[in-house]
């Protein structure tokens, strides 16, 4: 499943990043890498924008970006 399919409070393990460069490098360098635990802390009402936690950072990203991150629900 993709990151945007996780509900608030749910976590997953990152499996693959489908984003193209240079976004892919950006995501990787922010700690969004294979094998890491990622948690959806919050999303806006319309699920447009997500607040996720990876490692010790909070990152805001849009649904479009979240769609490009493959996760396995924990």
């Amino acid at each position: 499943m993709r990151l945007n399919e996780l509900k608030i409070g749910e976590s997953g393990i990152i499996k693959k990043i489908y984003a193209k460069e240079p976004l892919k490098s950006k995501l990787l360098s922010m700690g969004i890498t294979r094998g890491e635990k990622i948690k959806v802390l919050k999303h806006t009402l319309a699920k447009n924008t997500f607040d996720i936690e990876v490692g010790n950072s909070n990152i805001a990203l849009r649904e479009e970006e979240a769609k490009q991150i493959e996760v396995e629900k924990m």
Partner: protein, 676 residues
């Protein structure tokens, strides 16, 4: 004296700017919003008889640049001369930060690491063993807190020691990667970078390095080895993209090192708790709107308190100066031209400082990034993104800092669209004009609502224009929105006050010189030619009016007036509106002069009365609409020109708001005609 040139490098939000401020009391802006440090800043200081020169490079997540700022950092690290890299790391985010540390360690320059924000980290029970780190990586490191000025002196002596020993990092990846690096190194001949660095960058598809290597005679021989190396890594790591492999490799190395050097801190939970409320899916937007409302409320209500004092002091100052100078042109120019003009500018300083303070607090505490998160969905519908929000908010205060704030936008298209609509966020200087016309033409009970409608109407129009610009001139997919939300932090009062002081100085200097000069021109044009012969036959009280009616300004106004006749303007309105291009406050004072009211205070009942008698309601509507949409003041326009180098956009920016304002006014005028 010996000098060490140090490149200060780190990921965004690690407190690099703070570190620079803590050394020398220098003047860098410190904020929590990702990427506040855009410009290259340097500080110089002396330690142990050696001059240290720190160059603050824009925060960057990796050496694969994503934004123009990150490219600046990479270009500097690859192309400029420097002696040593000082890498600042956030102790609370070791793994992510160190993954970048390994990237810059690859360059092979002497390097020192500062584990910053160690105070927070140790408070949560964390510990970092810097000796162990040195043993593992051959990189000297120190635990520091830039905020608490702790550990910095030890850090600098390590910088000097590292420089003197020419001590370079020894960071090794897994066996397979290292083997391939060795294979590649054999094929790499002369090059300005270290062989190791070139080998690694080639594995991870660094195009900048490719471009340099491409021209080398040994390039073709290297190609087969590189292909084989990448192929082997792909198989071993079960991943197609070798760049990703290297990212994962570094991340794994970070994790390994961190378990050896650090005792983990307890998780900081404050941020999560605050965020539960502040960016709540339903409450987030209302809370944000409330905070903005509160800031504006404070800006207008608190800001108006010192206004009268400033006005009175400048009045008194003008009289005092007038008493000192002999009568003549210079006295007139200074007392009637320059001093009131500067007074008008300074009068709005309190409003602007309060707004700055609000925006500054939002930045420093980390709320600004949240506000961008909350607003992203709304802005996206208009072809903008969350980050655009900050400059747009600043635009309600003054367009000058707003244009500068747009620098935080990474994407040139987003930045340009944002800058093109900042003018529609009615700035503080337009308020006097609105107040004057709203109180002259609307019933007291709806005046507040009309004023609110003017501001909201301007902002909404701005968003719609953004949408059109995106659809017509800036086609293409909107940029991805990925932004770190920094932890909430208590702001340093001293840093904020210092920042306000800097802003005050900048405002007084920049806007003051600009508007003073512009007002001087207006004053001159409205006071000359002198017509001394004719004036002899005119009673004293009407002299001023006669001069005006026959001034250069009147000539100009009458010449331009045909353009504005469809809006019901006479030359006086025309001149006032045009004068407003210098500064919006000038509209009110010009009208006061032209309609022959002795006191130009916009709240003066007399002026309101005169305006109501002399101007029709539809024309008033047209004037309000023009003020809302036409070009901002000269200072703002100058800032835009300074920020945007492309001539076509400068030209577009200078023309289109005026066309739009005219059309809006024409529509408004005719609709108002129907109703009256």
């Amino acid at each position: 004296m010996k000098e060490i040139k140090v490149a200060l490098v780190g990921q965004p939000n690690v407190g690099k700017s703070h570190l620079i401020n803590s050394i020398s009391g220098a003047t860098l802006h410190v904020g929590n919003f990702s990427g506040v440090t855009v410009e290259k800043k340097e500080v110089e200081f002396e330690r142990e008889g050696i001059k240290l020169r720190l160059i603050d490079l824009p925060g960057t997540y990796s050496l694969h640049p994503y934004t123009p700022e990150e490219r600046v950092t990479k270009e500097f690290l690859l192309k400029e001369e420097y002696d040593l890299i000082l890498n600042v790391v956030d102790s609370n985010q070791l793994e992510k930060n160190l993954a970048f540390t390994w990237q810059i360690a690859d360059i092979g320059k002497p390097m020192v690491v500062a584990f910053n924000m160690y105070d927070e980290y140790s408070k949560q029970g964390g510990e970092i063993d810097t000796d162990k780190f040195f043993k593992l990586t051959n990189i000297r490191a120190e635990n520091v807190s830039a905020k608490e000025k702790f550990g910095l002196e030890r850090l600098f002596s390590k910088v000097i020691k590292t420089y003197e020993e020419k001590n370079t990092p020894r960071v090794y990846y897994s066996e397979i990667v290292e083997e391939e690096i060795e294979n590649l190194k054999e094929k790499i001949k002369e090059c300005k970078f270290s062989k190791r660095f070139v080998a690694i960058r080639l594995i991870e598809d660094d195009e900048d390095i490719y471009k340099i290597i491409h021209e080398k005679p040994w390039y073709s021989e290297l190609l087969d080895v590189l292909k084989a190396a990448k192929e082997r890594l792909r198989v071993e790591y079960d991943e197609e993209d070798t760049k990703t492999i290297m990212f994962e490799e570094r991340f794994a190395l970070s994790k390994g090192v961190v378990t050896q050097i650090a005792k983990k801190a307890r998780k900081e939970t404050l941020t999560e708790k605050i965020d539960k409320i502040l960016i709540h899916p339903i409450l987030g937007l209302p809370i944000f709107l409330f905070i903005m409302w509160a800031i504006f409320q404070a800006t207008f209500s608190l800001g108006s308190i010192p206004m009268d004092w400033i006005d009175a002091s400048f009045g008194a100052f003008g009289e005092w100066v007038g008493g000192l100078l002999p009568d003549g042109f210079i006295k007139d120019a200074i007392v009637n031209g320059v001093i009131p003009a500067i007074g008008a500018v300074v009068m709005f300083l309190p409003n602007i400082l309060i707004l700055y303070l609000g925006i500054n607090l939002m930045e420093q505490t980390g709320y600004m990034a949240r506000a961008a998160y909350v607003m992203d969905g709304v802005l996206k519908r208009f072809g903008l993104q969350g980050r655009s929000f900050i400059p747009l908010v600043s635009g309600f205060g003054c367009s000058v800092p707003a244009y500068m704030a747009a620098r935080t936008l990474k994407n040139p298209k987003d930045r340009l669209i944002t800058m093109l609509i900042i003018g529609f966020m009615s700035c503080g200087a337009r308020l006097p004009v609105y107040v004057l016309f709203v109180s002259a033409f609307f019933a007291p009970e709806i005046q507040g609502n009309v004023l609110f409608a003017i501001y909201i109407g301007g902002a909404l129009t701005g968003l719609i224009v953004a949408k059109i610009l995106r659809a017509v001139l800036f086609k293409g997919e909107p940029e991805p929105f990925v932004m770190e939300l920094p932890k909430y932090r208590f702001p340093k009062i001293k840093a904020i006050l210092f920042d306000l002081w800097i802003k005050t100085k900048m405002y007084l200097k920049k806007a003051g010189t600009f508007i003073a000069a512009a007002s001087l021109i207006i004053w001159f044009l409205s006071s000359y030619p002198a017509h001394e012969k004719e004036l002899q036959n005119i009673p004293g009280s009407e002299k001023q009016a006669y001069i005006l009616e026959h001034s250069y300004l009147a000539d100009i106004g009458k010449a331009i007036n045909p353009i504005f006749e469809p809006l019901g303007f006479t030359w006086k309105e025309t001149v006032s509106i045009i004068a407003g291009l210098a500064a919006k406050e000038v509209v009110v004072s010009t009208m006061a002069v032209l309609y022959h009211t002795p006191d130009s205070d916009e709240t003066s009942k007399e002026l309101v009365e005169t305006i109501r008698k002399n101007i029709s309601f539809p024309t008033a509507v047209a004037i309000i609409l023009i003020i809302m949409f036409y070009s901002p003041c000269l200072a703002a326009m100058g800032t835009f020109w300074a920020e945007v180098p492309q001539w076509k956009w400068r030209l577009f920016y200078t023309i289109y708001p005026n066309v739009l304002a005219y059309l809006m006014a024409l529509i408004g005028y005719n609709i108002a005609l129907l109703f009256s």
